[in-house]
C-alpha cells in the first residue's frame, strides 16, 4: 500500500476582491465580490513508504496547500487523498500520531523554557513510553549535535539552533510521515546543509516518508531523488531530477579556456560570459558534439568542460512552458 495516494485532488478558494478608495470600500459593504482561485487543480500522484519527495514551485504554486490537505489541515474541495490508509481531513487520532508537521519560521516549542521542557510536553501529548522517549530524544540530540543547547530557553537560541530543536521536538513520537514546509527558510548555508543531512539520515535510519516543500533548489537537489514540480496548482513534472534536466534542458554550457581568444567566437555559440581567455558558451544540446569538435580542431584549447545548465534555469523553463 502506498504511504500517500492522491487522486484528482482539488482546492478552490473564494477570494474577496475589491479596488482601492473610499467609494469602493462603501460599495463592498453591500455587495461582496469574490474571485475563484484554483490553488490546487486536480493533481494525482502516489508516494511509497520511505520515499523522500520534494515539491518544487514558485510562491503561490499550491505546494503548501497540497501539504496542508495531506496533513489534514485543509478540506479538499474535490478529489481524494489517503495518507497511511487514512483520510487526512478526518483527523483521526491514530493518523495524527503517525505524522508530524514542521513549518520553517513557525515555532511550536515554549518560548521561555528550555527545549527539554517542551520535549517532556510532547512526550505526554503523544503518550510515548519513557524509555523509548529518552532513547530517541538523546539520539536525535546527538545526531544534530545540540549538546547543552537544549537546556537554554528557546528564545535565547539562534535561528538555526531553534530550527534544530524544533525538528527534534517534532520527531520524538517517531512519525511515519514527515511533512516539512519550507524547513530551511531563513537559515544560513551551513545550517541548511546540516538540516538536509539530518533529514536524509533520519529517513535512512527509520524509513520515514518525507514530503518536503521548498523554493530552494539546493534542498531538493541534495535531498530528493524524486521531484514534483507544481505551478498554478497543476503538476508539471513528476520524476527524478536527472530526468527533469533531460526533458526540459535544451542547452548545454561549454566552458573553454583558449590560448588565443581573439577573433570571432560567436560562430560557435552564444557567449554568456567572457573573462579574458575563459569563455562560457551556450550551445543547443543537439549541436554540442559538433561545436566541441570544431573548437578542438580550429582553436588552441587549453581546457574544456561541458556542463548541464543550472537546474534553476531548467525549472524556470518548466514554469514558462507550463503556463503557456
Amino acid at each position: 500500500m502506498s504511504a500517500v495516494e492522491v487522486r484528482a485532488l482539488e482546492k478552490v478558494f473564494d477570494v474577496p476582491e475589491r479596488e482601492a478608495g473610499l467609494r469602493e470600500a462603501t460599495r463592498s459593504l453591500l455587495r461582496r465580490r469574490t474571485r475563484e482561485v484554483r490553488a490546487v487543480d486536480a493533481i494525482s500522484f502516489a508516494i511509497e513508504p520511505g520515499e523522500i519527495v520534494g515539491f518544487l514551485g514558485p510562491n503561490g504554486a499550491g505546494k503548501t496547500t497540497t501539504l496542508k490537505m495531506l496533513s489534514g489541515l485543509l478540506f479538499p474541495t474535490g478529489g481524494e487523498a489517503h495518507v497511511l490508509g487514512h483520510v487526512p481531513s478526518k483527523r483521526e487520532r491514530d493518523f495524527l500520531r503517525r505524522i508530524t508537521l514542521v513549518m520553517g519560521n513557525r515555532n511550536q516549542l515554549q518560548w521561555d523554557l528550555p527545549a527539554l521542557d517542551s520535549f517532556e510536553l510532547n512526550r505526554a501529548i503523544y503518550r510515548i513510553p519513557r524509555e523509548d522517549f529518552t532513547a530517541l530524544r538523546d539520539e536525535l540530540i546527538e545526531l544534530l549535535e545540540l549538546g547543552d543547547l537544549v537546556k537554554k530557553p528557546v528564545r535565547n537560541l539562534s535561528l538555526g539552533e531553534r530550527m534544530k530543536v524544533e525538528v527534534v521536538g517534532s520527531l520524538l513520537h517517531r512519525p511515519d510521515v514527515l511533512f516539512l514546509d519550507e524547513p530551511t527558510i531563513g537559515l544560513d548555508v551551513t545550517m541548511q546543509r546540516r538540516i538536509r543531512e539530518f533529514v536524509a539520515a533520519y529517513n535512512g535510519r527509520y524509513g520515514a516518508t518525507v514530503l518536503l516543500t521548498s523554493h530552494y533548489m539546493a534542498d531538493v537537489e541534495a535531498l530528493c531523488p524524486r521531484v514534483i514540480v507544481i505551478h498554478e496548482g497543476r503538476i508539471l513534472f513528476d520524476g527524478g531530477l536527472g530526468a527533469l534536466g533531460a526533458r526540459f534542458a535544451a542547452h548545454k554550457t561549454i566552458e573553454v579556456v583558449l590560448g588565443d581568444a581573439s577573433g570571432d567566437l560567436e560562430r560557435y555559440g552564444e557567449i554568456v560570459q567572457r573573462d579574458g581567455e575563459r569563455i562560457s558558451l551556450r550551445v543547443a544540446k543537439a549541436d554540442t558534439p559538433s561545436v566541441t569538435a570544431r573548437l578542438l580542431a580550429e582553436r588552441d584549447v587549453l581546457d574544456l568542460t561541458i556542463e548541464d545548465p543550472p537546474i534553476e534555469d531548467v525549472i524556470e523553463r518548466v514554469f514558462l512552458e507550463g503556463s503557456a
Partner: protein, 280 residues
C-alpha cells in the same frame, strides 16, 4: 540633466502642510478602520455597556427616592447617553501603544519623521472618530428609545458642546500620550495607566455626574484636568448652564490643553534624550 534634478526642492508653507497632513492621515484612518467594521461595532458595544450599567444603577436609586442630588431618572438617562458620544470622542492613544512601539522597535521610525510624532497619533484617532460616530448613531437612537432621556439643549449648549468635544479629545490625548512616555524609562506602565483611569473614573464625571460625588471630591475635581476630558462636554449639553459658565468652561479647557502641551513637549525631549542614550 533630468527635470527632477534641475528644479530645487520646494517645501509647502508650514501651516498648509500641517493641515494637509491631518487631512490625509484622517482620511486614511477612516479607510483603514472601515475594514474593521465588526471590530468597531464590538468595541463600541463594549464601551456602551459601562454607561448603561451606571445609568441603570443610578436610575434605580433615583426612582426609589425621586431623585439623587437633584437628578431624576430621566436626567441620568440624558447624562449617560451624552456620555456615550463624549466617550467615542475622547478615545485616544494609550500608554499601551507606546509600550508596543518600544517593544517592536518602531520608535526610530517615529523619530525620523520631520513632524512631531504626536500629530500622527492625534490625527489617526481623529479620523477614526468619524467611523465611530457613524456606528454610534443607530446605537444612540436605540438608547434614547429605551431610556427616555430628559434632554432639551439650547442653541448655546450645542454650540459649546461641539468644540468641547474636540477639546476633551485633545486634552485626554495629551494626558495619555505624556503618560505613555514613561515607557521610555520603564516597561511597567500598566499600573500607572490604571491609576489614571481610577482617578478619571471618580473625578471626571465618568462614573457619576460630579454633583453626586461628596462635596470635597467635587472641589478636587474642579482643579484637576479630568473633568475637562469628560464631564464638561456632557454638562454643557445636558444641564442648563448660563453662558458665562459655558464660555468659562471652554476657557479653562483651553488653558489645560496649553498647559499639558507644554508638559508633553518637555517630557518628550527628555524621552528622546533617554532613547538616544540607551538605545532600544
Amino acid at each position: 540633466m533630468s527635470v527632477a534634478a534641475r528644479t530645487p526642492v520646494r517645501e509647502e508653507g508650514r501651516l498648509r502642510s500641517y493641515l494637509d497632513f491631518y487631512a490625509t492621515t484622517m482620511r486614511t484612518a477612516v479607510q483603514a478602520n472601515f475594514q474593521y467594521r465588526a471590530d468597531t461595532f464590538l468595541y463600541m458595544t463594549g464601551t456602551i455597556i459601562e454607561p448603561v450599567v451606571y445609568l441603570v444603577v443610578w436610575s434605580t436609586v433615583a426612582r426609589a427616592q425621586g431623585d439623587v442630588a437633584g437628578i431624576t431618572a430621566g436626567g441620568f438617562a440624558a447624562y449617560y447617553i451624552a456620555w456615550t458620544l463624549v466617550r467615542q470622542f475622547n478615545l485616544a492613544f494609550t500608554p499601551y501603544g507606546w509600550e508596543w512601539r518600544i517593544r517592536e522597535g518602531r520608535v526610530s521610525a517615529n523619530l525620523l519623521r520631520p513632524i512631531h510624532p504626536i500629530h500622527y497619533d492625534i490625527a489617526e484617532f481623529a479620523g477614526w472618530k468619524f467611523v465611530n460616530v457613524v456606528v454610534w448613531i443607530p446605537v444612540a437612537v436605540v438608547l434614547v428609545l429605551i431610556f427616555e432621556p430628559a434632554l432639551h439643549p439650547g442653541l448655546e449648549d450645542v454650540l459649546t458642546f461641539v468644540p468641547a468635544l474636540w477639546g476633551a479629545f485633545l486634552l485626554r490625548s495629551l494626558n495619555l500620550w505624556t503618560l505613555g512616555l514613561v515607557s521610555f524609562w520603564t516597561t511597567r506602565t500598566a499600573p500607572l495607566f490604571e491609576l489614571y483611569i481610577l482617578l478619571e473614573l471618580l473625578l471626571s464625571g465618568r462614573l457619576v455626574p460630579l454633583q453626586v460625588m461628596p462635596g470635597w471630591a467635587e472641589t478636587i475635581a474642579a482643579v484637576l484636568p479630568f473633568k475637562w476630558t469628560f464631564g464638561f462636554p456632557i454638562e454643557a449639553l445636558v444641564y442648563d448652564l448660563p453662558v458665562s459658565e459655558l464660555v468659562g468652561g471652554l476657557a479653562i479647557q483651553t488653558a489645560w490643553i496649553v498647559g499639558m502641551w507644554t508638559l508633553m513637549s518637555v517630557v518628550w525631549r527628555r524621552a528622546v534624550r533617554r532613547y538616544s542614550a540607551v538605545g532600544n
